[in-house]
Symmetry: C2
Subunit: 204 residues, 2 copies
Amino acid sequence: MAPQYKLTYFDIRGLAETIRYLFKYGEIEFEDVRIKHENWPPLKDSTPFGVLPILEHNGKVVGQSIAIARYLGRKVKLAGENEWENLEIDAVVDTLNDMKSKLSAIFAEKDEAKKKVLIEAVKKDTFSFYLPRLEAIVKKNKGYFALGRLTWADFYFATVSPAYDLVTGEDILASYPNLKSVREKVNALPAIKKWIEVRPKTDF
Amino acid sequence: MAPQYKLTYFDIRGLAETIRYLFKYGEIEFEDVRIKHENWPPLKDSTPFGVLPILEHNGKVVGQSIAIARYLGRKVKLAGENEWENLEIDAVVDTLNDMKSKLSAIFAEKDEAKKKVLIEAVKKDTFSFYLPRLEAIVKKNKGYFALGRLTWADFYFATVSPAYDLVTGEDILASYPNLKSVREKVNALPAIKKWIEVRPKTDF
């Protein structure tokens, strides 16, 4: 039987990797479609808002990577047991997303000198503000981002946090052992470990 | 009995108004705490990430306005009946939020000439891209943003869309009757109509 889910994104980890991790963790088959950049312009207009990833299921199409991750997190039992617990997960994910959005100017900057200035500003204003607070949250939650146990928020962090090192060229989590351990724990889950071994090798 | 929820924000509609609408719609009592800007600096460090709104309930505190709105949307039965339906709601809310995030540079710009340039760019690149697509979604969904019926996505749009006019000084939805009607329908709900009459009068 053909997979019931079709995920379309570029041939990178990027915004789709949380989704791929959740499919793998839940042993849900999916079609992992990877569009080459040169093939994207003619396809763009056929997507709901001209952006990827999109997920197709039962003849329906949706976008928005975090919304898709939440859906799968619930499906594979990495969500809360009541709505307040789900709110705790959602709030920390949106905070991680707020932090990540402050890195986008660095990705966009092509001038190396200007990029260096932006990186220093992000280290000083963004990382040094958010990371100690997030580290304290993980410590309080017994090594996880919410509920004192593994949730899809940890999957989100494990797949998004490599961008911190990528934009700065540094080991940004070096002084945050609890945060680092979240990523290591997720990546050591048998299904994820196996996925990391076999997934397409891409730069980010 | 004291309300079981305490919402803390500034004395504006802003990011908290979706939440207030949902409390009112569901007839859930809440303490509507409004911090004056001059009293904010000493309070800032006591919040999880130095930002408002925050919601307190049963001795716990969470931030993130959209996450809180989702929680309340489910509580007051303005959510989906299964997880795919919830994904459809979440995806359109995140798309509205993507569009809104492109307005923030206008809010921040103090120079009137530069502000005008930014407004024209937003009209050309953002509104003219998103609004026709959103208009088509609402038309397809029988006058709502998702599921062919009233959901918390409509509440989000009703409370967020006045910002489009505020930043541009124009009636941005004038040529989008379906979008305009979503706002009107939400604002005409008896509990919301009453809230609009009695709520504190603020500029935005």
